[in-house]
Amino acid sequence: MHIPDGYLSPQTYVPFWGVSIGFWSVALKKMKKELSVKHVPYLAMAAAFSFLIMMFNVPIPGGTTGHAVGGGIIAVLLGPWTAVIAVSVSLIVQALVFGDGGITAIGANCFNMAVVIPFVSYWVFNLIRGNFTGGSRFNIAAFLSGWAGLSVASIFAGFEFGIQPLIASGADGRPLYAPYPLSVALPAMALEHMMLFSVVEGVVTLLLLKYFMKHEPELIHALKAKEA
C-alpha cells in the first residue's frame, strides 16, 4: 500500500500533496483553532501508537501472518480527524526513516491511508453497529470497519496507479510511470487487499475493539461520539 517514489507522475503527486495538506489543516483546526501545547503530546503519542500497531504480526487463518495499517482502529478509538494526523505523521516518519513509501508519494500515501481508511472505517463502524455495544452485530461492524477501510484505500491506490499510463506516456505510447493500466492495477490492488491484507486489518480491528469493550469501553471515541 505504501507507494514508492517513481510510480506516480508529478501530475498526480502534486495534487495529492495539496489534498493532504488541506486535510491536515482541517484536522489541526478541528483539534483546536491553533494547535496548542496540550494537543502536541496527544497527537504525537497517537502517531507513535499508529506506528506501533504495525510492529505486531498477527497470525491469520491460512497459516500466514500479517500486520495491520491501523488507520481504522485509531479512527474508532481516537476519532477520524485525530487519526488523519496520527497516521500521517507515522507515514511521514516511515517514508523518511525507513524508506517505506516515497517522499514525492507522501501526499498520495497519506490520502489513501490517513484520510480514506480512517473516515471509511469510522463511518462503516457507526453505520453497521447502530446502537449495539456487543454481540454479533458489533463484531461484524468492527471487522467490516477495518476491512472496508483498507479495501477502499486499495481501490484508490489502484486507481492512482492505473491512471498513470493514461496521463503520463511518452511520444511512443510507452508509460513513463506506473506501467499497469486501470484494467490491471485496479483489480490487482483491490483483490489482493480484499482477500488478504484487509482481512488482517479487520481481524486486528475486531480483536482490539472486543478487548476495549470488555475492559475499557470509555476509551472508544466512536461510542462516546454517538452517545453525545
Binding site: S36, A44, L52, V97, Y177
Partner: protein
C-alpha cells in the same frame, strides 16, 4: 572509525525457532515480531550513530540538505531516460563516498528495497501482455491469441523492448530516490531534518508532533520487543493462533493505554519547562558561507540534470 553499535545489533539472533510447515519453513509470529521490532531499533540506532559523524556533507546545514533532497527527488521523478538517471545515481554515489558512509551497507539496503518495490513490482509489465512492442525475449507461444472480457492474451508472449526499458527506468528511479533519502538521513540527525522543514513553512506545532512521536516510536518499540521476548521466554511449546491473536490484542491495547499515560506525563513536563500555548521551535541559526556555496553548487548540478 570503530563502530559503537552494540554487537547484538549487528549479529543475527541465534534463537530463531523455525518450524517445518506444510509448504516450507514457517517463522512463528513471536519471532517475526521480534525481528521486525529489532530491525526498527537497529535502523534508528545506526542512523543516530552515522548522522553524528563528521564529513563535508555532514557539516552542511540541514536546511540546504532538505532542499537538496526535495529538489533532486523531483528531478529524479521528472527524468524519463536511463542516461540521466544513471548520471544522477553516479552523483549520489560520489556524495555518499565523500560523506564517508558505509557504502556497501547502504547500497545493500537500497538494492534490496529497489528490487522489491521497483523491479519485482514492475517486472510483469515487461511482457507484451501489458506493454506492447517488439519482443526481444520470447517466453511462450500459444496456439492462438485469447480474449477474456477486456483482457487480451497474444499468441506469442515475451518481454518487449519497451517493457524492459520501462522496468529498468522505474527500478533506477526507485533506487535513486531511496539513495537520495538515505544520503540525507544518514548524514543529518532526524530532529534537525524536521527542524529544517521550517524553511517550507511547516507549522512549528506539526514539527514538534513529528519530533516527539519519532522519539517515542523507538522507546515504545523497545517496550514491544521486551514484551515479545518475555512472552517467548514463557512459552514451552507452540501457541495456537486463537491464543496468539488474543495475546496480541491485549498487548496492542496495553500499548494504547501506555501512550495515553505518557501523553499526560509529556504535557506536564512541557508545562514545567515553560511551554505556553504558542509553540515555537528555536535554535535555527544563520547559514554559513560554506552552506550557501554547497547550496548553489547543488542547485547548478540539479539544473544541469534537468536540462539533460
Amino acid at each position: 572509525m570503530k563502530s559503537k553499535i552494540p554487537s547484538f545489533l549487528l549479529e543475527r539472533p541465534s534463537s530463531d525457532s523455525f518450524t517445518q510447515g506444510s509448504v516450507g519453513l514457517k517463522i512463528p509470529f513471536i519471532e517475526k515480531g521480534i525481528h521486525h521490532v529489532a530491525n526498527v531499533i537497529k535502523t534508528g540506532y545506526i542512523q543516530w550513530e552515522t548522522a553524528a559523524r563528521d564529513s563535508f556533507f555532514h557539516r552542511i546545514d540541514a536546511r540546504i540538505k532538505v532542499l537538496f533532497l526535495i529538489f533532486f527527488i523531483v528531478i529524479v521523478s521528472l527524468k524519463n531516460d536511463i542516461l540521466p538517471e544513471a548520471l544522477i545515481g553516479g552523483f549520489i554515489f560520489s556524495l555518499m563516498t565523500i560523506a564517508r558512509l558505509n557504502i556497501v551497507g547502504l547500497y545493500k539496503r537500497v538494492f534490496f528495497l529497489a528490487f522489491f518495490f521497483g523491479f519485482l513490482v514492475a517486472l510483469p509489465s515487461a511482457f507484451n501482455v501489458i506493454t506492447k512492442g517488439d519482443i526481444i525475449i520470447p517466453v511462450l507461444r500459444l496456439s492462438r491469441p485469447y480474449r477474456f472480457w477486456i483482457y487480451q492474451i497474444p499468441g506469442e508472449i515475451g518481454i518487449t523492448r519497451e517493457g524492459f526499458y520501462g522496468v529498468v527506468m522505474l527500478t533506477s528511479r526507485v533506487m535513486n530516490s531511496l539513495a537520495l533519502s538515505f544520503l540525507v538521513l544518514y548524514t543529518t540527525p532526524f530532529p534537525e531534518i524536521i527542524r529544517a522543514l521550517k524553511v517550507l513553512r511547516v507549522p512549528d506545532g506539526f514539527l514538534m508532533i513529528i519530533t516527539l512521536s519519532y522519539k517515542y516510536m523507538f522507546i515504545f518499540a523497545k517496550t514491544v520487543e521486551d514484551m515479545h521476548l518475555a512472552k517467548k521466554s514463557r512459552l514451552a511449546g507452540q501457541v495456537n493462533n486463537v491464543d496468539a491473536r488474543g495475546w496480541i490484542a491485549g498487548r496492542i491495547a496495553f500499548m494504547f493505554k501506555k501512550t495515553r499515560l505518557r501523553c499526560e506525563e509529556i504535557f506536564k513536563a512541557m508545562q514545567s519547562r515553560g511551554f505556553s500555548d504558542n509553540i515555537k521551535i528555536y535554535g535555527v541559526g544563520q547559514l554559513h558561507a560554506s552552506d550557501w556555496i554547497a547550496g548553489v553548487i547543488f542547485f547548478l548540478i540539479g539544473v544541469l540534470f534537468l536540462w539533460m
